[in-house]
Symmetry: C2
Subunit: 370 residues, 2 copies
């Protein structure tokens, strides 16, 4: 009794051709702790785009119904060698109704329930998901629960990680993103000072409407001076950046060091003793990260991903975080969508060129059944 | 009863003029746990050059007896704002004889002894040093003991830090440096696999003469393949780099990730779960560090300095390290010098242009009394 339905696949050839297509697929029966979810809604997050579109050229791609073929330029094609020839599903998270389960009690308890889930194959009409990662949504709609994992848990993860590391304040380089607004609300609730960087005055207004006190516009001529003032006021020597490429991380480290050096009584050739920590958790800019030697040796830059963080933090912290998300699903952790598309609609030129831009407040929601 | 003698000073003006000069100075009496050391020998380490020469233009400087005036270009002059107008001593470490002490028992016990010390003002005929950081040299010469802190403790620090972090193998990007050769000898003694990167075949030979098993030449066409092979053989996902600028750190992360990804059973858009760790402990290249997005998010890059490491490791570990250095002063931790110069000799055009190049095996020793 196989279940069939549509699913989106992404395939990169060794020659550098990226093919996205919707295909009729047979979904196997869930076993053990798995559940089969009839997917009702799934967001397109920046973290989905890495595998979905990457750096491929969708301006000049070949579009047909439910299919698009684009060129992946170098060095990105070679850098993705590990996926060459693999037909991969996409879509980290979503929400839907459990229609079949494996044998475990945890899986069986979810039968018939609407859940948020993290299948990694959410751009499909059905998906196999791990029951342990499912969040029963009660009376919430699939749309309300579709984005309840990646952004909420990441934003909460930043604050939890800061607490574990003993950081007093937090800096976020894309303050007005969906995730950034959540982070501001979490920091308000927890009394953690947050420095937000934005690129436009409208974004600053969005944040201030959420109660943000420290918003710095990187387009302003006195950006660095304002950033130093904000860091000084918050002790935000601990920051998160989803841009990755370019000099934003460098600017943050430099401003942090200038604040710390300004408080030193003696000059040190090695810079201040203030530990400075930045995390790159996304790659909105796929260009190189550039670090100038302008902040001594007391700095650490890491990649940051949710799954390793949750493993490090342990099940108790993760469970507490999930409960907090459920409690605040329509308030603290609410997401907004610019447009809804079905699976074929995801693969039109207009849609791809639009969601690939990852503009603030312009998130897409995929509804696989139309 | 003031002690007078020559001392080297380095002064950077706000306008970008770097002045190095030897001046007659009055040395104050040591107090408390301080000792006054009549300096006999002090090495010029790369870590001394940051404050001594920095990025200043010594090709076109004005040289006179015991004095040189050079231009400091931008952005380096602005980046050094914190030292503008300050007349700073230089020379991290050296060796000499204790000629006066403060009141503490520890200080008094050193009276008349030859010691290695870390005054931060070693390019002088006398220097005030902290007795707790002095290492009595017994019958060893000042020359033998002059470099007993910075390089030996740093190389030992790498191995201790790797042990604390549970790293199996270590990678070093400038394998044939004075410090690199020490690191190889330490790793041999401790049975820690070490991957060395060199730029020339002669450097590979130097290392092999020390018993190195994994030496990779970055000038070879198959450098990356060789680097992957060496990392795979040693589990060296943990590396130290004194270059800083350029793409060496990036190449190491990339090779580490390629080794780890090659062992994965499933493709992950986020890269492997293998934590990859690199430390920048110097700035032989003062250009920007460039990191390409080619190794997922499981990486961490930090600055590394000896003093914060010793504070983190604690006095017991630091004490054990110092004893090991003393035990191996003429073997494991022996340094070699290309040339000896006095204080005025340090400031000649030929000398500066030579030691500023920081070529492998071409270290200078300063003998302040000629």
């Amino acid at each position: 009794m196989a279940t069939t339905g549509k699913q989106l696949f992404t395939t990169l050839s060794p020659e550098g051709t990226l093919t996205l297509e919707v295909a009729e697929t047979e979904f196997r029966e869930p076993t053990g702790n798995q559940v089969l979810v009839k997917m009702e809604a799934a967001p397109i997050n920046p973290s989905d785009l890495a595998i979905l579109t990457g750096a491929a050229d969708f301006e000049n791609a070949e579009y047909s119904d439910g299919k698009v073929v684009a060129r992946m330029p170098e060095p990105f094609n070679s850098a993705s060698k590990a996926r060459h020839g693999m037909r991969l599903p996409a879509g980290n998270e979503g929400a839907g109704t459990v229609v079949a389960t494996g044998d475990s009690d945890m899986a069986k308890a979810l039968m018939g329930q609407r859940v948020a889930c993290v299948p990694g194959s959410a751009y499909a009409q059905y998906a196999i998901a791990d029951a342990a990662m499912c969040l029963p949504l009660g009376d919430h709609s699939a749309e309300a629960g579709a984005s309840s994992f990646v952004n909420p848990m990441t934003a909460l993860g930043f604050v939890e990680n800061a607490k574990i590391d003993g950081a007093k304040g937090i800096l976020h380089t894309v303050g007005a993103s969906n995730l950034g607004l959540m982070l501001q609300r979490i920091c308000n609730e927890d009394g953690v000072p947050l420095v937000n960087i934005v690129r436009k005055d409208e974004q600053a207004e969005l944040l201030k409407a959420e109660g943000a006190r420290h918003v710095v516009n990187s387009s302003d001529g006195d950006f660095m001076a304002n950033l130093r003032t904000a860091i000084d006021a918050t002790d935000a020597f601990y920051g998160f950046d989803p841009i990755g490429g370019g000099t934003m991380v460098d600017s943050c480290f430099r401003a942090m060091e200038q604040v710390a050096a300004g408080k030193m009584k003696e000059f040190s050739r090695y810079g201040s003793n203030q530990p400075k920590r930045m995390f790159i958790y996304g790659r909105l800019d796929t260009g190189p990260t550039t670090l100038m030697p302008a902040y001594g040796f007391g700095w650490t830059l890491s990649g940051w991903l949710l799954t390793p963080f949750l493993q490090m933090a342990g099940p108790e912290v993760a469970g507490r975080m999930r409960q907090r998300v459920l409690d605040g699903l329509t308030t603290t952790f609410a997401s907004n969508y610019k447009a809804k598309v079905d699976l074929e609609g995801m693969l039109t030129r207009d849609a791809i060129l639009d969601y690939k831009r990852m503009q603030t407040g312009e998130k897409y929601l995929v509804t696989p059944w139309g």
